[in-house]
Amino acid sequence: MSGTDARVLTISPGTRSRTSITTFCALLWSGFRRYATYRQATAAGAFTNIVFGFLRCYVLLAVAAGAPGGRPGGYDPEQLATYVWVGQGLLVVVGIWGWTDLSDRIRSGDVAADLLRPVPPVTAYLAADLGRGLYGMLTRFVPPVVAGLLFFPFKTPDRWQTIPLFAVSVALAVIGSFGCRYLINATAYWLHDARGPLVFWTLASGVLAGLYFPLRLLPDWLAVTLWVGTPLPGLLQTPLDVLVERDGPAIQVGLVALQAVWAVVMVKAAAVVQKRAERKLVVQGG
């Protein structure tokens, strides 16, 4: 080791602190790569999604068969089957459950390493989460949708704009879901352990995002209140309603616009909470 020169290890002049697109893309790729490491878990998860897809689909189709006119909440059986199977595919893409990275790192004190990087933590976590979503789209979205297509009649979109709107809506769902999860996890800054809020979130998001049943089955006033007053329908119900063309073209676009507003609000709120947390932050451990 002696005689070697360590002087090359000095700073390069002119480095800038602005987060660039390249940085964002590299972080996004890291999220993708991270989840791509666990292939067996991906296969097992996709299988579970398919099993529960059958369960949910038969329940909803039974509800449809017993409903007056056979259209509960304004969905026909084809729309309901599409709703269930695409919903099963989107479950992991949107990732409403199971993300505890931030709260775990706050509890262990590892969050200090996130703060020592020249990228704001919310930006870094958002990029990685989009990478996670992209990996989910390629691996977890396709199997349930294919399984559904094999065994049930699907609704094929009639409008040209439905597919691009659905793509935008899914991206917004991932971003909105990230904002919500970040906020729930960030409670650990104050509580030291976010398990309570996370359990509450798991219960609330499943019901109010339209996973267990379409929110259109609720009375109109309640559904509208949920849509306008909370980001939750934007996490799952909106992209699914867009895809199955539950509403006319204007409402279809309006729902995505509302979803975009909520996604921006949630990410902004996450950034504000993060800033506040940093002011009172006590990094755990020596």
Partner: protein, 317 residues
């Protein structure tokens, strides 16, 4: 490069004061620390557990807001300008990781190049140097979660240096490492220090790290600086002296005295004696002994820094 003026960090803790009652109490983790560290210095920052070492480091890196006082690192205010400062400093926490757990080490490094926006050539040059000095090649493609502690720490050091920081903060970088890994890390840091471009602040409980690497030693206890100077100055202050251990063929004559030295131990029926040298050179002491008794063997024992520091930690305040 680093300036701290009357830096304080107070925490409010709630202590039980009855069956249901809790009382708020303020604890000063760092209690008015003032220090200035110049470019290229290698400073050991030591203290007992809970003394405030890591808290100081967290304030210097912008992770923790000081309760009061001024702090500047590379001319920047750490908390307010944290993201700008992040480009100028490297941090290694011995007990936590900045690498991506699920990714191979090499991919973590590639990602860091983009995060810190390092030009490709600079990145490659630094990485090649680290690979060479720290022997990273054999585990560069192994996921971080599968690395041994020693391998991970070498990875952490590389990760902290790839963007070419001006200041390197090391919080117990050799904790839990085996002898070989410790030596590798120390040699690397010594080499880094020789360049003179990187300012290094090291907290550790392993005083061999300090002896090997740092000329300046800052000792903190109960949030206050209790020593700031060289290791020799610390020895002088606490009266630690070199010792001369002599094996004799025949015991010393009764009443023998050695000017400038004190007889502090006799073993093996007087065949082994220990003198503590009070200012006299070891050579002169040996010369004085040779005339009085037949010397078979001798050794000069340097004062033990661990003893001095233990004295410092346990000294009444």
């Amino acid at each position: 490069m680093i300036e701290m003026q009357d830096l304080r960090k107070d925490f409010t803790v709630r202590v039980k004061a009855g069956r249901l009652r809790r009382e708020k109490r303020t604890v000063s983790a760092v209690d008015g620390v003032s220090l200035a560290i110049e470019q290229g210095e290698m400073v050991g920052y030591i203290g007992p557990n809970g003394a405030g070492k890591s808290t100081t480091l967290k304030m210097l890196t912008g992770v923790l807001s000081p309760s009061s006082g001024d702090v500047r690192v590379c001319g920047l205010e750490p908390v307010r300008q944290r993201t700008r400062l992040a480009l100028q400093i490297g941090v290694v926490f011995g007990q936590r990781s900045q690498l991506w757990w699920d990714l191979p080490l090499g991919e973590s490094f590639r990602l860091l190049r983009h995060v810190y926006r390092v030009p490709r050539d600079d990145h490659e040059r630094r990485l090649v140097r680290c690979r060479e000095l720290l022997g990273l090649d054999e585990f560069l493609h192994t996921p971080v979660r599968q690395l041994s502690l020693g391998q991970r720490m070498r990875g952490e050091l590389t990760a902290a240096l790839l963007h070419g920081p001006r200041v390197l903060f090391l919080d117990e970088p050799t904790i839990g490492l085996d002898v070989v890994s410790k030596q590798a890390v120390r040699s690397f840091l010594a080499e880094l220090g020789r360049g003179g471009d990187v300012t290094l602040v090291l907290t550790t409980h392993d005083l061999a790290d300090i002896e090997r690497l740092c000329r300046r030693l800052v000792v903190i206890d109960h949030g206050r600086v209790v020593h700031d100077g060289t290791i020799d100055e610390l020895h002088a202050r606490y009266g630690s002296r070199r010792r001369l251990v002599v094996d004799l063929d025949t015991p010393l004559p009764a009443g023998f005295t050695l000017p400038g030295a004190t007889l502090t131990g006799t073993e093996a029926d007087g065949h082994r004696v220990t003198f503590t040298l009070d200012g006299i050179a070891a050579g002169a002491a040996v010369a004085g002994l040779v005339g009085a008794a037949a010397v078979r063997d001798l050794s000069v024992v340097e004062p033990d820094i661990e003893d001095v520091v233990a004295k410092l930690y346990t000294a009444p305040r």
